[in-house]
């Protein structure tokens, strides 16, 4: 349970990295991939928003109470 927040953050960072790398590409498949990553990011945000209202406090507490990754 302590890894949920970390995994979400890593997925968001990964999405940002990919979108940054594909932002200025003009090839068709790269533009398609950019759109797909953008939609995946929206879905990820939606899931994250559904998790946090109910279980968010417990997930944050578990993340903080992990002494090896409390930053």
């Amino acid at each position: 349970m302590e890894h949920v927040i970390t995994v979400y953050h890593e997925m968001f960072d990964h999405r940002d990295d990919i979108m940054r790398a594909l932002a200025k590409k003009n090839t068709q498949w790269q533009e398609d991939l950019f759109c797909a990553v953008k939609l995946a990011g929206q879905k990820l945000s939606k899931y994250c928003a559904e998790v946090t209202p109910t279980m968010g406090m417990l997930l944050i507490s578990a993340h903080i109470l992990d002494p090896f990754q409390m930053s």
Binding site: M1, T52, M55, G56, I60, H63, L65, D66, P67, S71
Partner: protein
């Protein structure tokens, strides 16, 4: 919990504030709130009760019970604070939480010490995987409690939070539940339909199968989790659907063929009545004057016959 990613402060700061508020509301307030009739009986001098010591008190008062109403903890002023020991414990808990949040993360163990042959590609994989270091959080907190460190008060919070089953998170459990409901071949099921199905299933599960009826054998919800039975049922439905589809296709083809034959028959009848001479009366009415008599031409045709001319008796030898 109000975590706003667009806020000026970082998410870490917001998480920290939310955690402190959570500890104060859920744990510190409980220690400040003690029922009046129980405060006379409780003889608590140890601010950090162990599991054995607190077991007897939890019969009537659970200090870390999360199942209570949250409004109780948000209004601690309505409850008398009668015991100094519990108030001290709440203060220590809050202080411990703040100290823990201001401390540095625990450094991981030395990988080179744990895995001396990590770069040796010829070493046994199982040996490497058995030496992989996974941080044991609960063990770390148990050590804090046993050594009575400055974070020992937080170990009860850790015990409560990390004892939650991981697949109890609602959305993740709903993902697997949705796959059980919708199946791989039902990609056209709308979101509203899936939502209704999931709600009915959860209600049925929560009410211990009241909706399913009395007979467990006829209870279809008992079998819905069995993916193999669902797959077999889908196969049967598809087979029946395929048979019906084939029959409908054949019936439609025969209907089309019959309609085409009728149409062509009507056309033939119409053509026969208008253009063709098919009855004997018309033949009788035909006169010879309609024919062009040219007998010479007919003989010319016979003279131009491709057959060889007849032989005379002179041409025959000996004749």
């Amino acid at each position: 919990m109000d975590i706003n990613p667009e806020h000026e402060t970082s998410c870490t700061t917001q998480y920290t504030d939310a955690f402190l508020k959570y500890v104060e509301n859920e744990y510190c307030a409980k220690h400040r709130r003690v029922p009046v009739d129980e405060a006379e009986n409780v003889q608590c001098r140890n601010p950090v009760p162990s599991a054995m010591a607190s077991a007897s008190r939890q019969l009537s008062f659970a200090p870390y019970d999360l199942s209570g109403d949250d409004e109780e903890y948000l209004t601690p002023t309505n409850v008398p604070e009668t015991q100094a020991g519990r108030s001290d414990h709440a203060t220590r808990l809050s202080t411990s939480a703040r100290l823990y949040l201001n401390s540095l993360p625990e450094p991981p163990k030395n990988w080179a010490h744990m895995i001396p042959n990590l770069n040796d590609y010829h070493s046994d994989r199982m040996e490497i995987s058995s030496t992989l270091w996974i941080p044991d959080i609960t063990n770390w907190w148990r050590q804090q409690e046993e050594t009575h460190s400055k974070y020992a008060d937080l170990s009860n919070v850790v015990r409560d939070i990390f004892s939650i089953i991981q697949n109890g998170v609602e959305v993740e459990s709903s993902f697997s539940l949705g796959r059980d409901v919708i199946g791989w071949r039902q990609s056209k099921t709308a979101g509203d339909t899936l939502h209704e199905k999931v709600v009915v299933r959860q209600f049925t599960g929560a009410s211990h199968g009241i909706l399913a009826g009395k007979d467990p054998e006829s209870d279809t919800t008992n079998h819905e989790n069995d993916s193999e039975m669902n797959k077999a049922g889908e196969e049967r439905k598809l087979y029946r659907l395929a048979k019906v589809h084939d029959f409908l296709k054949m019936w439609q083809g025969s209907q089309n063929l019959s309609a085409t034959q009728k149409e062509s028959r009507a056309q033939t009848r119409q053509l026969t009545a208008i253009r063709c001479i098919s009855d004997t009366a018309a033949i009788v009415k035909a006169f010879w004057s309609f024919f062009h008599l040219d007998g010479a031409a007919a003989f010319e045709l016979s003279e131009r016959s491709p057959l060889p001319p007849a032989l005379s008796p002179k041409d025959i030898p000996g004749g």
